[in-house]
């Protein structure tokens, strides 16, 4: 338990020392997307009988919780390849699970901070949603899954450059295609099949439906819980592989 706390506390302290910079950087992308796609391009658009802005914001929340959750991989890489702090964890009498949970939780914390920034901007723009348990379950599960995958990728890859490849080829396309900026149903049937297999699509749908106050999407919720368990397992096993 103390091992998990130590790993998590270290990340929290780093967040605390960088908080103003971090919050500022969290606000740049969503603000740009909201201005460009929401207020600019999407001003006259409607999706499913609602203003496009109301469709876009839950999608942005899903995408942001994914990228910030997955973004823990950068911190782990710095700790592993540059600061070598990862070796301090490896040499300590803690279990792999304690390490993995500490890092994942810090990814979830970063994701929640970024979502907080979007919600602040949203409320300033005069858009209000329902923020019930379904909404937060979607955000947290999504962040948990991608933080776990972030830990896994950080353990498997051998350099910063490889990490950038993973982000460019997997995370960035998913952020655009996973039901964030447009309804997946608008795509041709075979593409739809592919997009509906993405965890982000389910997270975006779960978050959107809950934000509209239309209840829980139980299917998406169950799938995200399953994926969270699987990704945790993957992260757990990847830590052991990091030993040379």
């Amino acid at each position: 338990m103390k091992g998990f706390l130590a790993v998590y506390l270290r990340e929290l302290l780093i967040i605390w020392h960088r908080l103003p910079r971090m919050l500022l950087s969290f606000s740049v992308s969503p603000t740009l997307y909201l201005v460009a796609f929401g207020f600019g391009l999407g001003k006259e658009l409607e999706v499913g009988g609602r203003p496009y802005l109301e469709f876009l914001i839950p999608g942005l929340i899903a995408a942001s919780s994914m990228t910030q959750g997955f973004g823990i991989n950068v911190e782990i890489n710095v700790a592993r390849f540059y600061l070598k702090v990862f070796e301090e964890f490896q040499a300590a009498p803690i279990s792999n699970l304690a390490y993995v949970l500490g890092e994942i939780l810090s990814g979830v914390t970063r994701a929640l901070l970024s979502v907080g920034v979007i919600l602040l901007i949203t409320s300033l723009a005069g858009v209000n949603f329902f923020y019930g348990p379904g909404f937060w379950a979607g955000v947290i599960l999504n962040a948990f899954i991608f933080a776990s995958l972030g830990v896994t990728s950080a353990m498997i890859i051998k350099s910063h450059a490889d990490q950038a490849l993973v982000t460019n080829f997997i995370i960035t396309p998913m952020a655009f295609l996973g039901g964030t900026f447009f309804p997946v149903e608008n795509m041709p049937a075979p593409v739809q099949l592919l997009l509906k297999a993405l965890p982000l699509t389910h997270a975006a749908r779960l978050i959107r439906q809950a934000a509209y106050g239309e209840g829980l999407r139980w299917g998406s919720l169950a799938l995200l819980v399953l994926l969270a368990a699987l990704s945790l397992l993957l992260a757990y096993h990847s830590v052991d592989r990091a030993k040379d």
Partner: protein, 282 residues
């Protein structure tokens, strides 16, 4: 009971054999040094014993606790000072120590007490709440050492603790290491500085190409060669001969005085012993 017992440790990276059956024992409260050139297998040994690297074969015990069989129990007995300064630069000195204390299961109260005590021990108490980024190289190295001591390890692994430091800072660290040993900690040190091993170590093992060549006290290793050395610079290069007495060394030097312009008589040192037993310079 040995503080450290290592049996036939082997590490292979594909076709490369980093360790070829390393075995040694360290008695409690002894400062044991691994002396060898870069790539000899010093760091690999420490990394395996600290749980950072998996061995290909072999066994190791800390006070009879199986290092690979009961890693969590074994890790509690050891402290590691790695060659690379792996501190969190953005955190303060105290925060770095606090995280380490939690990792080793110490209570908050215990960490606070130990941290104050150790920061004072290493003359770093006034910098307690400064970020590590603001510290000099020597200060960071001292912090690294006291961090490894926070959980009161019985064995301390020091991997090239003074590499890259100025000579005066190196000497200051030697004092700190000696004081740690005097407090009852067993120390396993790797170095490629001959004078460091000679000054600090109770016992020295020469390691070369993944194998221990010889192990003994520095005095005994030197005594195997003699007391005095005569360096003779010739056209073929430098030749060194060893003698039991100064008179014998002087007699030899006198005989050669017409043949070489540079003849030096000096005391035999640990470097002579290393070159003699391994056939290589450190």
């Amino acid at each position: 009971m040995d503080a450290v017992r290592v049996e036939n440790l082997v590490k292979e990276y594909g076709p490369i054999k980093a360790l070829r059956g390393v075995s040694f024992r360290i008695a409690p409260q002894i400062l044991f040094a691994f002396l060898g050139p870069n790539g000899a297998g010093k760091t690999t040994t420490i990394r395996i014993l600290s749980g950072l690297t998996r061995p290909t074969a072999g066994r190791a015990f800390f006070f009879e606790v199986d290092v690979f069989g009961e890693p969590v129990k074994a890790k509690k007995l050891a402290g590691l000072v790695p060659q690379t300064i792996n501190l969190d630069l953005e955190l303060t000195l105290y925060e770095n120590l606090f995280i380490h204390g939690l990792l080793y299961g110490l209570s908050q109260r215990e960490i606070r007490k130990r941290a104050e005590e150790l920061l004072a021990f290493a003359d770093l108490l006034p910098r307690k709440n400064h970020k590590v980024r603001t510290l000099s190289g020597g200060m960071r190295r001292r912090l690294l050492i006291i961090r490894a001591l926070l959980h009161r390890p019985k064995i301390l692994f020091l991997d090239e603790p003074t590499v890259g430091l100025d000579p005066h800072i190196r000497r200051k660290l030697w004092g700190l290491i000696k004081r740690i040993q005097q407090r009852g900690t067993t120390i396993f040190l790797t170095t490629h500085y001959i004078e460091e091993a000679e000054f600090l170590a109770d016992r020295v093992a020469f390691i070369d190409r993944g194998q221990i060549v010889i192990e003994d006290t520095p005095k005994a290793l030197i005594a195997r060669l003699g007391k005095f050395a005569v360096d003779v610079v010739q056209e073929e290069g430098l030749e060194t001969r060893y003698f039991r007495s100064r008179e014998a060394a002087e007699r030899f030097a006198l005989e050669l005085s017409g043949k070489s312009q540079t003849i030096t008589i000096r005391r035999v040192n640990l470097e002579d012993a290393f070159v003699y037993f391994t056939g290589r310079k450190v």
